[in-house]
């Protein structure tokens, strides 16, 4: 197959589809409400909603790594914490 060297699996493909969908959703959000909703949150940082998505995704990555180091697989708990973290970031950061 043409893409066999990329070693695709449905799990990793689903991950990238979700990231792509998040970016598309952010694009639609920006189109509906331009300007990025800049604000200064509880950390004293000036963020737009794109920044908040970046912080959420990066934070989710490290939450998963921390979970794997501490408790091992499966990382469902890390996923739940990441969702809560993202909600908190979009609400307060």
């Amino acid at each position: 197959m043409l893409l066999s060297w990329m070693a695709w699996t449905w799990q990793t493909a689903a991950f990238f589809v979700l990231v792509a969908l998040a970016l598309v959703a952010m694009g639609i959000w920006e189109w509906r409400s331009p300007g990025g909703a800049p604000r200064r949150g509880i950390l004293g940082l000036d963020t737009t909603r794109g920044d908040r998505l970046f912080i959420s995704l990066l934070g989710a990555g490290f939450i998963h790594l921390g979970w794997l180091a501490a408790f091992g697989a499966p990382p469902w708990g890390a996923l739940a914490v990441s969702v809560l973290f993202a909600v908190a970031v979009f609400r307060w950061v």
Binding site: W5, T9, A73
Partner: protein
């Protein structure tokens, strides 16, 4: 409130860059993610392993040690190169024929290929035939970077400082040259000391270029490979085995592509996080 942009045609001008980035960054990145969850013995045959490589990596003493060495190296060279670069930039002339001479001299180390820098310092610092090695030993200091970890560390740091301080100098110098004379004249009228001029005029005006310099030096030093590999090969023992050297050993030496892919991604995330923290902290309150 920002007004809605009605003409979106300019996005087409970005399209070539998007395609380029997709092929040279996104596709390899996706492949690394795919590899990091699988095992392969070659011939495009893969076996699903789940999070096994990540669990092993995050609990691996070898990885922790390499990460600590990497952080220590980066912190050391930043602590030396940034103040030294700013000091040299402050000492350089702003006008006259010596400006070109200084700039060319400063740029020279940056023009030398990384493997050549490693080879140069290897020969230069050899304790038996190298000029530096013989000189230091002649002064009564026991120096041998091929066998002594302290010597190996000092040589690696000095080599990096020699190679890359120029970059900080050139960026800081560009920042200094952009300060209008009126600022200095006003400071002179106020009777400001040299320290006050530096603290309240030069340093704030250099903030943006220093942010770039620190970010570039952080990322480069955190991903350093060629120079220490040629100089010490990661030794003696593992004392100068930084993350990138360890990664290459896992990926190419042991051909463990799955664990190497997991390590690459964790490595990438650390670089991304620290770069973001550096940038955010340094640019804080910039817009206010």
């Amino acid at each position: 409130m920002t007004a809605r942009t009605t003409n979106q045609k300019a996005w087409w001008l970005v399209a070539p860059v998007v395609v380029l980035v997709a092929f040279n960054a996104l596709v390899p990145m996706m492949t690394v993610v795919n590899y990091s969850f699988q095992e392969t013995f070659g011939d495009n045959v893969f076996f699903w392993e789940g999070f096994k490589w990540y669990e092993e990596l995050l609990r691996s003493e070898r990885f922790h040690d390499a990460l600590v060495r990497q952080l220590a190296f980066t912190a050391t060279i930043l602590a030396i190169e940034v103040p030294l670069g700013v000091a040299i930039a402050l000492a350089m002339p702003r006008r006259g024929p010596w400006v070109s001479v200084c700039l060319v001299l400063m740029a020279l180390p940056l023009l030398i290929p990384w493997n050549v820098v490693g080879a140069m310092w290897n020969i230069f610092a050899l304790p038996d035939i190298g000029l530096l090695g013989r000189l230091i030993n002649g002064l009564g200091v026991d120096y041998n970077f091929t066998q002594d970890p302290t010597s190996a560390w000092v040589t690696t740091v000095v080599m990096d400082v020699w190679h890359w301080t120029s970059l900080v100098v050139l960026l800081a110098y560009a920042g200094l040259c952009s300060i209008p004379d009126a600022y200095y004249q006003a400071a002179k009228i106020d009777g400001a000391s040299a320290w006050s001029v530096f603290r309240h005029i030069q340093l704030p005006k250099m903030k943006r270029v220093l942010t770039i310099a620190i970010l570039l030096r952080f990322m480069d030093s955190f991903m350093i490979y060629t120079e220490p590999f040629v100089l010490t090969g990661g030794g003696p023992g593992n004392t100068t085995t930084f993350l990138s050297i360890d990664l290459v050993k896992v990926a190419l030496g042991q051909f463990d592509l799955g664990p190497a892919a997991a390590m690459s991604l964790v490595y990438f995330m650390i670089v991304l996080l620290l770069s973001w923290v550096f940038y955010t902290v340094m640019m804080r309150n910039e817009g206010t």
